[in-house]
Each structure stands twice: as C-alpha cells, then as structure tokens.
Symmetry: D2
Subunit: 151 residues, 4 copies
C-alpha cells in the first residue's frame, strides 16, 4: 500500500457553522482540521479510535491558523493534510484548506499534538505509530509566523 | 474613566465543551477568546454589536494558541485579554487563560483581526475605534513561535 | 426525476462531538438533522442556499428528539429524513437516525420550520416550494409524545 | 437552606452562537438548557461533577423545545429551570427562556434524563439524589405537544 503523503478530505459548510457575518465561524476550522487529521491517520493505516483504545491520546498542544478567504454556507471545502514532523513525543501536521469548486486557498494551518497516556501524562509515541508517518515539506507555504523557523 | 489595559473575563466549562478525553475540547478556546474580546471591547467603551451596526466587521485573520494544561468540566477559567497592536486595518489581541481557583496557566493565545466593511471588503479601522485601545506589552510571555518577532 | 420520499444522509461522529461520557453530545443531533434536511431539500430539487437568496428563511420553531442508543466517536450515522406535513406557513420533518454499520436505531426526531421573510416576519411558503415535497407517513414510529396527535 | 423550586441562570449570546439568519442557532439552546440544569443541581446542593465521580451519569433521553422569539448576539437570556417529575430512573426538567432585559418569552423546553451507571447501563437514581429535588407544576405553560399528557 502506498501511504499518502498529502491526504484530502472534503467537508461541506453546514448552517450551524455560519455566523451573522454570513461566513463560516473561525473556530469551526479547528474541527475541520481534526476531521482531516482523523482521515489522514486512517489512510496511513491508523484508526485514532483504535489508538485511543490502546491507551494513547494525542492532545493538541499548539494551533496556528491563517484565514485568507471566507468559506460560506453549503460550500465544499477540501482539506489537504500532511505530516510536517514526527518527534519522540510530538507530531506536527500542516494543512491547506481550499474551496473545492474553484481551488481558492481559504486557510493554512499548523497543529502540534503531544502523546499522552491514559492518565493524561506526557508519553512517547510508540515506534509503530511513528513509523506510520512520512513527513513531507509543506506543499503550500503556510505563511504562519515562525512556522518554518524551528521545524 | 480608566480604560483597562488588561481585562478579565470568567467562563465556566460546560458539558458540551468536554470531549471523550475528559477535558475541554481545544476548539472551544477560540470561542472563549471571542467572548473575552467582546467583553474587552465593552470595557473600552465599544459594543461590538454597535460597531457592527455601523457597518464595521472585525474578522479573525490569524489565530495562534498554545495549550499548556487542560481545563475540565465545571472549571472556571479566567481569560486575561489585552491589545498588543493597533494598525490602520488590523488589531491584535493577546490572551492568557488561567484556572480561576488556583491561577494555573492553561493557555496563551494571539488573535489578529482585520477591519472589513459591510460587503466583507478590507477596510480601515475608524479613528474613533483605534483611539479606544491602549496597546500594552504582553503581561505574560505568550510562548508562541514568532509571536514577538514582527509585532 | 423521482423525488425521494425518504432521503438518507451519512455523517461520521467527529471528536469535537464527543463529551466526557464518551458518546456524541445530545445537542449535536440537531446539527445532524439540519445537515440531513439540507440534503433532503437538495434531492427534492431545492438548494436551501438558493431559497435564502430569494428572501425565504426556514426557521426552526419546534424540535423533539428521543435518544435511544448512544453514538460514539468515529461511528457512521445514517439519517433517514422525510416530510411529514406541509402547510401554508409550516413544514414538518421526521427523522430516524441509525447506526450505519448495524442498523441499530439511535434516535428519532421531529422538526417543524416556519417560513419567514428577509425581515424575519412570518411569511407563506411559496407554492413552488410547497410543491417540491411529498409528505409521507412515518416509516418508523417516532415514539414522541404528541407526535401523531395533531399532525 | 431553602431549596429553590425554580432557578434562574443567565447566559449571554456569543458570536459563535449566531448563524447567518442573524439569530442564535437553535441547537445552542440545548447547551443553555444543560448549563441551567447544572446550575439548578448546584443550587439544590448537588454538583454534577461530584455526581459523576460517584459513578452516576444523567443522560438526556428526550428533548422538546418550542422556539417563540429569536435571541440575538449579545442578548442576555434568563433561563428559568425547574424539576417537573422525579422517578426511580428518570428526571424531567422544564424550562422557560426569557430575554433578560424585557422579559419576552423566547422559548420553552422539556428535557428528560435517565440515570446510567459507569458502564452506561440503565440504573436507578440514588435516594439521596432523588431527595434533592422538589418537583413543581410548570410556572409557565410549555406549549409542547404531549407535555402535560403523561407527566
């Protein structure tokens, strides 16, 4: 099986996600990133549900998002997701969100997660989990301050 | 009236905000930052509702959050909020989230907003709005990559 | 084109939808009903986005949900949706939510919507909108108090 | 201590709760009911956090809401909450949501909860929990179909 280095997940903006500006509310993007991350793991052969049942938790430790164009109700948004870096305790994902119909870049993002154990204490990523991921260079510049500095 | 340079807003973690890790879900922090920002504006003499009725919109253009300690159901969280920078089109806020009972630092964050007009086109912050804010140096180091580099 | 009398929409429970009981939080079901309703309209030939652009708003006036079995993270949920009744100002939908893999009934629901105009005043459903729908008898008993009494 | 029969909890509509109709999205009301229920328990001497730590879970089994007037961004909403009925396994709450400034009735609601144990199996409400509540007749007619029929 060829492991995808950049996965693509589609979401459609639902009515609950709009705000009175008439666009998707900014906090919802973090949920989309989460959905895309779960799909990315699945494509890499890891079900996050199964990972949790072994006692591992991946907790978000840092988030950075740059919003470029609004998404609107009923728009389909394509979330491109990749692994930027895998450390012994930490994994960092990169994201580009695009309008599915015209390809416009809507947002870029970076999310870092830490491995925790069942009791929520810092832990190590099991070797077999680390081995699932193939870090790649950003296919799209994230345009986030500091994003490339120390990663 | 003395304009507060650092405002404080309390939220209590409700059940809908928890996830199956037993902690407040990370995307909810962005909503708390929004609530604190609205209260900060109110203390500075600006109702965001009134600002919108004049045609101004403040749209989030960038978000960065560092999560340090989890918040749990029924915890009260104190959100300290301040203005870091006011430009002609952009305003940046800094935040420190603390556990209200023991003062533990839960998260730090930075949010940048852009002024838009009614048609969601880039606009300028009206002088009277800019004049409401008194930017201050971060009372708490944000610990966000790039946070201090270019602001 | 054959208009479907009962549509089916799939959603997958994402992490943000879980709570610390380890199940999908009950308020999220209302969002799923909304998503299914939008898809039902689409299958009937009506885009809710387009309807809104003509000035029509369909505002939820009543909701009733009976929760029977929990849905869990990563579960796929099939939402069966149908029109129960179409009046001059009001349309009522029925729903059955099932676990997509084993068909277990998770919840049943009823949602009534009122037609409003752009200024949020009560309005009439345009004849061409009313004509899109084919009310059917509940394919699944809703088990909601009063559900069959006056509809 | 006098146990309140009808508690009052205030929430303020935040931006994330609005939708593109310019009003509070209907699913958010269920979160407000949850917040009010937690406060009602607290006033009755029961912390829901503490109840959960004893192994008890109160899971929503039925919800009915009638929406009467929209709530808007920054509005303060007063949630009046009371216990309608306490059974051996089930407790039912009634609610009236009012605009805090002018008292307008925004919505009425009924929520039934079932006692579950740690493994999410049906359980009994402990006698000491049952004893905390003083069911009262609805101070406001709920106007929900079937609401008074069998309770």
């Amino acid at each position: 099986m060829t492991v995808p280095t950049v996965s693509e997940t589609l979401v459609r903006v639902n009515y609950s996600e709009t705000d009175q500006m008439g666009v998707a509310y900014h906090a919802r993007y973090l949920v989309w990133l989460d959905i895309a991350r779960t799909e990315h793991l699945r494509l890499c052969g890891a079900s996050y549900r199964d990972l949790e049942s072994t006692g591992l938790r991946l907790a978000v430790s840092e988030v950075a998002v740059r919003y470029r164009q609004p998404a609107r109700f009923d728009d389909r948004v394509r979330i491109r997701c990749w692994v930027r870096e895998v450390g012994s305790r930490r994994i960092t994902f990169g994201y580009a969100l695009e309008h599915a119909d015209d390809g416009r870049l809507l947002a870029t993002a970076r999310v870092a997660l830490l491995a925790l154990d069942r009791s929520m204490a810092l832990s190590r990523l099991p070797a077999e989990v680390r081995g699932l991921f193939r870090p790649v260079a950003d296919p799209v510049p994230l345009g986030l301050r500091g994003a490339s500095a120390d990663e």
